[in-house]
Symmetry: C2
Subunit: 188 residues, 2 copies
DNA sequence: GTCTATAGCTGGATAGAC
DNA sequence: GTCTATCCAGCTATAGAC
């Protein structure tokens, strides 16, 4: 399994560069240089740059949800878990200096010409919605809620998406804090 | 003013390509070819590709708000105007085959290395918030609203942002329709 | 499987004729 | 102010030695 050491290093370096500089602005040359491996080695593990991209998205999705699980683990109450999802995004945006959502960034960059990447971005969003829905199902409603549970799911999802985009644009966590407050009211 | 004819054609072609293919994926060669002008002419009007980018963002912002004004003109009631803002985005996304928000796309692509572009993207968002706020100020509240006006502004803004991103990712107007429904409930 | 060398092309930008 | 010719650095990808 020694070969996967190199593979991992390539993927790690590429992931960082794709996220920080953008996929199209990152060249193979820079990747092999910073990963300190040879050109041929990269193409041995990833037949094309596009394959590297799909591996990046899939890996990022897994890391994202693993990080979320870890972040929410100490919290018991499902409502508090839902609210902490905003905290998770704040935490991540702070760490990445408000680099924005990995998946929306890729979606904005390759929209159209890369169907694989496109489907993978959708997959992350579907998984996020499923995650929210599962938590919502555990919430015991305190009041007959002016807004139905299905609509509440949409609202929370859209608030998260919008707040992350806005936080990245302003390089400020305030939109995510605002969204959290709104969610708190809506969850009753 | 004959020179501005060429300038306009360059900007129009570049705008279309930047939006459809992305800024980094669009080369000068393609722009001059499709605009049917010479290399030197482009650099005469725009000293660098980056200048072309800032012109693109500014022009797009103006067109965006002019289009919005036009779209909302026949509507009287401020609440209906607010809801129609979602219809405007649906209309635009349908026309662009769900290409997404011009400004978020650029924000995702140049984040960091182009301060000018970054500030211009923020400018569009500020202007959008001001637009929503002005309409909200004209709405006569039917009920004591569980959610304050300032928070309502944030909510509407974040819903618009999130729904546009999601609509683009799914290539479907449903998220924008969902957001509109939510807004309708929140506006009472 | 990892390496170096290089092919083949396209990027943004400039110089100088007209 | 519009054009053509051209520079050089960068790109993705392949070939072939070890």
């Amino acid at each position: 399994m020694k070969e996967s050491v190199i593979r991992t290093r390539i993927l790690e370096v590429a992931s960082r560069l794709f996220y920080e500089q953008g996929y199209n602005s990152t060249g193979i040359n820079q990747i092999i240089q910073e990963a300190e491996i040879a050109r041929g080695s990269l193409y041995n593990h990833f037949p094309s740059k596009r394959d590297l991209l799909t591996a990046y998205i899939q890996n990022s999705e897994n890391l994202w949800f693993m990080g979320l699980d870890e972040f929410l683990k100490p919290i018991e109450d499902p409502k508090q878990k839902l609210l902490a999802m905003f905290d998770y995004r704040i935490d991540r945006q702070l760490r990445s200096k408000f680099g924005g959502c990995h998946f929306n960034k890729i979606g904005a960059e390759v929209s159209g010409d890369d169907l694989d990447a496109f489907v993978l971005v959708q997959h992350q969003k579907d998984r996020l919605k499923t995650y929210i829905m599962a938590l919502l199902g555990l919430v015991t409603p305190v009041q007959p809620a002016a807004i139905g549970k299905e609509m509440l799911l949409d609202t929370l999802f859209l608030l998260m998406e919008g707040a992350t985009v806005a936080a990245s644009a302003y390089k400020d966590s305030q939109p995510l804090k605002d969204a959290r407050k709104i969610a708190e009211i809506l969850l009753g």
